[in-house]
């Protein structure tokens, strides 16, 4: 409590970093409860991700890797950390940013600006693929056609494909996404809540789709969202964009998300425990996993004749937008609504060679 810096040091508990023992501790790692300083935090944070990458053999030298970039905090920090680690540890990766433009006015245009700044900051090339060019429809147009009820189904299915298709166009060997430990814990819970045993088995894998055209992996699988935010907050120059999608105030996912945050407050390790549970579930081998084939129309991997995106598109283009959503309910719509919907001109399914 001596003069000079005293203004900052007067606070009740001034502890030193438990790693370097020199600087003031600035945060408590949720994983270990260690109190450490900013400088040591960067080191352990990046080291841990490096370990995850190495231990799980996520990349091979010379691979061309697409970073799924939404402009949000996770992908922004991922782009930063990956470019940093690639340089430092000579991964030999050819990295680039890949963004999807759903065509939501007032939402995506802003976040794409953020990605464009990332492009300059980290010197990573950027490729933007749009729903409009891939599918012939923007999300704004889809919402106009189907209303607000099932638009997330469209967006989710389309986005998943859009990243893959974009990665294929860019001749990428792998696609990385910014899904963090909190996201994974949330997905595990949601799959239990909705009884989806097949997804429950798959959702904890760090790399998926190894048999498909473009494997995806999640280097942040064991990384707490909180630590990603620390990283973001400390590097003021890390650009970060976040708003709720204007079309999706998703209450259901919100419940699970809030539950996880409440849990984290009581017991930070619970997030990793959920992931451990997910990895250890005794999912019997007799549980049928859908067989992988390819979509007859677009060539994308699909367990059915047509992939989900083509089914949805088909519906949109034929003016039966409920087609492919849920069970068969949507097909028995009242005449009035069908007539209204069919006034939309049919649009061709966007084709892209994979």
């Amino acid at each position: 409590m001596e003069g000079g810096d005293a203004t900052r040091a007067r606070r009740a508990t001034v502890r030193l970093c438990s790693i370097c023992n020199q600087r003031k501790a600035a945060l408590k790692r949720p994983k270990t409860l260690e109190q450490i300083c900013r400088e040591c935090f960067y080191v352990v944070f990046e080291d841990e991700i490096h370990r995850t990458i190495v231990d799980n053999h996520l990349f091979k030298p010379g691979e061309r890797v697409a970073i799924g970039a939404s402009g949000g905090k996770d992908s922004t920090v991922l782009a930063y950390v990956l470019s940093e680690l690639n340089r430092r540890h000579n991964y030999g990766l050819d990295l680039f940013l890949l963004s999807v433009d759903e065509g939501i006015t007032g939402y995506r245009d802003d976040s794409l600006e953020t990605v464009k700044r990332n492009e300059i900051q980290y010197g990573l090339p950027l490729k933007i693929v749009s729903y409009k060019t891939l599918y012939g429809w923007t999300m704004d147009e889809i919402v106009k056609a189907i209303g607000l009820k099932n638009n997330c189904t469209f967006c989710g299915v389309f986005r998943r494909q859009a990243l893959d298709r974009g990665a294929a166009v860019m001749k990428a060997d792998k696609l990385v996404t910014g899904h963090n430990a909190d996201d994974m814990a949330e997905t595990i819970l949601l799959n239990i809540l909705r009884g989806d045993i097949a997804r429950l088995g798959r959702c904890t894998l760090i790399t998926t789709g190894e048999d498909g055209p473009i494997p995806r992996c999640k280097p942040f699988k064991y990384t707490y969202e909180k630590e990603i935010i620390y990283t973001y907050a400390y590097f003021k120059k890390l650009d970060y964009f976040s708003t709720e999608c204007i079309y999706s105030p998703n209450a259901y996912r919100g419940f699970a998300r809030e539950f996880i945050k409440d849990l984290e407050r009581i017991r930070p390790r619970a997030i990793l425990d959920i992931i451990r549970s997910g990895e250890n579930f005794r999912i019997s081998s007799s549980t049928k996993m859908p067989e992988q084939g390819t979509c007859e129309r677009c060539g994308y991997i699909s367990s059915q004749k047509l992939c989900k995106a083509c089914v949805l598109l088909d519906g949109l283009n034929r003016g039966l937008p409920k087609q492919g959503i849920g069970r068969t309910k949507g097909l028995n719509k009242s005449k009035d609504e069908e007539n209204k919907n069919s006034s939309f001109h049919s649009k061709p399914c966007g084709t892209l060679d994979i």
């Binding site: 009740a12 501790a25 945060l27 939404s70 407050r265």
Partner: protein, 99 residues
């Protein structure tokens, strides 16, 4: 007491999309200190314009909202009991929105 408040991760939407607020908060008469607890209720009354439940839960911030006082996690300075001083910078970041 002059403080700099910063809202991020979507919380800025609750206060007219303004991220940084330079504010002067009155301390209770006879005291020259302000705790985070006092500050939170002041923010709720004076800064948050909509959906206060996205920011607060009970008398603290909602779980999933990160609080940094001068770049230090408030967990290390006593959470609600953290005392604030002139020209402190307090950052709130929500993790409840997507990323």
């Amino acid at each position: 007491m002059h403080l700099t408040l910063e809202f991020g991760g979507g919380l800025e939407l609750l206060c007219k999309s303004v991220k940084i607020h330079e504010v002067d908060v009155d301390t209770k008469s006879g005291e020259d200190k302000l705790t985070m607890k006092d500050l939170l209720s002041w923010i709720q009354a004076n800064v948050i314009k909509e959906r206060p439940e996205m920011f607060m839960k009970g008398d603290s911030v909602r779980p999933g909202v990160l609080v940094l006082v001068n770049d230090c996690d408030w967990e290390l300075s006593g959470n609600l009991d953290t005392t604030l001083e002139e020209k402190d910078v307090v950052v709130f970041i929500s993790t409840l929105h997507g990323g």
